[in-house]
Symmetry: C2
Subunit: 338 residues, 2 copies
């Protein structure tokens, strides 16, 4: 079992579980020292609550402040970016971090962002596919190349600096429905599973992914499935109740941005903040949390991204009280690199 982090800073306004950039940086620096495996950072634009917009920039800053922790986007929304500038920025991060980039990508889901960039949502998949093709070409070409389409035109270019992880960094993408999960398996990408899916739903998704891997002749590697979870360690039953209530409120607040892609329409989904989230979030005293995480392991989840909330102290608490229960297996999991 391996633990990473998922989240981001906020600058403007406050939400229940978000930190200022400064606090967030201290948090990630502490996580690096405590042997958390990764930090995956969201990218959002025009949120009005100051969510991270330049996630590669923030990760590049964190690259300088940390030694070992892997630096992930979760996810970079390809349709917003010039694919060549993005390839350059990601390669620069990969270089400066000594090959610690985990490149998480998505096609976008927030209406506010499609509207803001004036990009029709119907074009999201097409733009995503095209951008990815260009980025892969940019990272793997050691010679100059050209690319021409209705949308993008590049002539006789070579992207510098070279990417450090060869042939390219691990590619992560979120998925929820069977067909989208099957596509991830087929494309050879790593799978990000969201924080809102119940345990049962998560088990189903892992099964779909495992089976899809089998079908395309890919070995199922649990290091290539990252499951985001809200994990809150409490000291008493009363604290547990308070934390569960706060979690439900927070989910409700985030639901205004719309539904995550690939999620089935069911009560526990992202868009329905009023639904009970108890079964997705892991909230409780250390023994309870360990037990819940072991349940995940039973159905094949061995890489959990806990929400990057709280303080360096709470992180330390997690490292002291939860990680040792899984310490023996940590080494056997291997690298998440493709």
């Amino acid at each position: 079992m391996k633990f990473g982090l998922f989240g981001g800073a906020v600058r403007r306004g406050e939400t229940a579980d978000s930190a200022s950039y400064g606090d967030f940086i201290n948090f990630v620096v502490a996580a690096d020292k405590l042997d958390f495996a990764s930090i995956f950072i969201v990218e959002h634009h025009f949120s009005g609550i100051g969510q991270v917009s330049a996630s590669l920039s923030l990760l590049t800053y964190l690259a300088a402040k940390t030694e070992k922790i892997r630096l992930g986007t979760a996810v970079t929304i390809l349709p917003w970016h010039n694919p060549i500038l993005l390839a350059e920025q990601a390669a620069t991060l990969d270089l400066l971090s000594g090959g610690r980039l985990d490149f998480g990508i998505g096609k976008g889901y927030r209406d506010l962002e499609f509207k803001g960039f004036c990009i029709p949502k119907e074009e999201a998949q097409e733009r995503f596919d095209e951008a990815l093709e260009i980025i892969f070409k940019a990272w793997t070409s050691s010679e100059r190349f050209s690319y021409h389409s209705e949308r993008w035109n590049f002539e006789d270019i070579i992207v510098e600096p070279e990417i450090v992880q060869k042939p390219m960094p691990p590619i992560w993408t979120g998925a929820g429905t069977p067909s989208s999960i099957q596509r991830v398996a087929k494309n050879g990408f790593n799978l990000l599973l969201d924080q809102y899916g119940s345990f049962d739903l998560t088990r189903e998704r892992v099964d779909v992914f495992r089976q899809a891997c089998d079908e395309v002749g890919r070995t199922y590697n649990p290091a290539e499935v990252g499951l985001t979870r809200a994990i809150v360690l409490t000291g008493s039953k009363k604290e547990t109740a308070v934390a569960k209530e706060a979690r439900a409120k927070r989910s409700g607040a985030m639901s205004k941005f719309g539904r995550l892609p690939g999620l089935p329409e069911e009560p526990q989904s992202y868009a329905d903040g009023s639904a009970p989230v108890d079964d997705a979030a892991i909230i409780g005293e250390p023994g309870e949390v360990i037990e819940r995480v072991m349940e995940l392991r039973e159905f094949g989840v061995e890489y959990v991204l806990t929400l990057a909330t709280g303080t360096p102290e709470s992180l330390n608490n997690f490292a002291e009280k939860i990680m040792p229960a899984f310490a023996d297996e940590k080494q056997s999991l291997g690298s998440a690199a493709q």
Copy 2:
């Protein structure tokens, strides 16, 4: 008299005075400790010799590694970028560095880059002007706004995080001809003067800028004029001769990328690498270098950006042997912030 640095790392290939990213970072970290005022980093694409492409990314990394040094682009080529993503990245750097961003901007000059991005050179000025308008709007709007043109469309957006330096970071732009220098004065921007202009030409340019400032009712502030110079400290006449020859060769190698914008067509210009550069570069033993820098001061240059070449040791040498000659006046120069 204030000293900053100008340059960039390279990843692929070698030129006489370029460092790897790792060496370059060590160099800037040393400069920060030695009280150099700034590092201005170039942005180039598809150079084939690995020049820095994601200059804001590299500066964001350096923000984490340094304490006081100002972090400049020299320059960010606006026509290559989505202005809103650029505004977000620059604001993120300004936030993470505690307000140390110096935003240098240009419209591009290398044919290789116009060709690479498939952007007609004739559109450079128009694209530059439009991008700048959008970026300024993005940084100064505390409410959501929309922008629509043939080229860019944004609806109901707000750029986050907020810029830290209010109303915005210092804006720097290169200029060489009288009309372009006058425009810089009129726009309220800071002026970057290039490393290839002779002493006489530099004096003329400063005079043009000073007069243009008078004409628009702007007080001439020498902290708002950054002059780039190749400065090489030698230990003997023989070393001086060798360094001058190396400098001439290097200028020749760079001339293949084309002429910097705003430069008059004359022998000492950027594009003509075979021309003598002795009168632009400052190469010599400490006493000679101090004398030359004092000449610059006499005609109003009090902010010199030395080429970021050499090693932390040579930087230390510069700080020990040159800076003390100008130490008394350092405080009187004040900030370069607008």
